[in-house]
Assembly symmetry: D2
Homo-oligomer: 133 residues x 4
């Protein structure tokens, strides 16, 4: 991800809420990699609205920086799903930003439901794979 002008502010750094958009892109990529694209979840009648979001800013990024965003699903989700993020920039080992989002599983009318079986199965299958790597 390369930072664009739109994402910077007059302090010449990425505006603090823009990282949550980066988190979203990383989250969608994570779900696709696990084999549960968000669009498919929605087709099955599930949604994953954010119920909590958090960010800690250790450093800054600016225009044209090439950022890498790591995302990680913290534990087996039951009613809620927690995803953590780390944002790295070149030439720096420590993340410049860390954060997490918590999501609840809901049906299409935004009523809370349990994590769908399909979701848990694919997540398990994926974790198995990851362990073999």
């Amino acid at each position: 991800m390369r930072v664009i002008y739109a994402q910077t502010d007059r302090m010449n750094v990425v505006y603090y809420s823009r990282y949550y958009e980066f988190f979203e892109a990383a989250r969608s990529a994570l779900l696709r990699r696990i084999g549960i694209p968000y669009t498919e979840l929605e087709k099955e009648g599930y949604m994953l609205p954010v119920v909590e979001s958090h960010c800690r800013y250790h450093g800054t990024a600016t225009f044209e920086d090439e950022l890498t965003i790591e995302s990680h699903m913290d534990e087996t989700p039951k009613a809620k799903l927690k995803i953590s993020y780390k944002v790295f920039k070149p030439g720096r080992d420590d993340p410049i930003v860390t954060g997490y989002t918590v999501h609840s599983f809901t049906n299409a009318r935004m009523r809370p439901v349990r994590a769908p079986a399909m979701f848990l199965e694919r997540l398990e299958a994926y974790s198995g794979q990851a362990l073999e790597d």
Copy 2:
């Protein structure tokens, strides 16, 4: 409208596409004043997607500037609706930004339709009022 940090970029001015959000706020306010809030249009099954947008930047605005946005419906709409905008900042007579958006009337499935009669009637009623002022 007071400019917030989020709307500025590293050049220390309002980022060029943010004006289109200001236009949208002004557009909604215009429709409400005419007596056709956009939410009501939607309830009646109509939408007004943007088919064209244009902006000319004569000056700049920065953090905490208090901007005034004027919007104006250019002519009686048939299939399309054109709205023009002028953005002013204090201490300057000429607008810092001018622009317009063109909208088509569509049904809920985004198929083009004629301007709804209800829309034209209220618009006419409103123009009458405006002339009396």
Copy 3:
């Protein structure tokens, strides 16, 4: 604050990171009311970058909702300043969103500094006033 289309997403609710922009607007208003507009802080060579941000989403808001944002400075700031926010919508007593941001005082080169005396004095003067109300 009236929600505009730009702030909604395809779930038809305000996108989760947009609340952080509302927080910023409320934060600037709070600083102005205390008598320390952010622009003046900057002129004095101080900045208040965000070092932490957090949000809990209890409900949702959608297009044209008129939101009220309350902000509150939690305690006397030393090196850091914590501001809390509550977002309300009409017809609901409980906030739909609560959150906070933590800011560090820095000089213009973004090096941490103590809270400027001017800031603490005006804050104290303001608290005195508030108590008299």
Copy 4:
């Protein structure tokens, strides 16, 4: 570019002003390819503020669509630089969005200047290359 939730609105399509952010990303990529990264221009004391922007929306894009943005410099720039854009989505030959931005060359204090010689030389060198391909 894959569309994220943040970029959609409640009509379930990419919000109209978001395309201008895509244009910016494409513009920066074009300048890098020509060998004149924007950051270098800035270091040399030049800026390229947008003086005009335009967009025509022929179709829509939604969440997870993978968009391709083509950008093209229209003619040899003198005082002004015009860049055109086309946004494509898979399975459709015609662009869903077309647009352009016009930029003026300015110095760091945003006073208009001529196109810098360095810019014109590299642009010419690049055009030569492109012809040989």
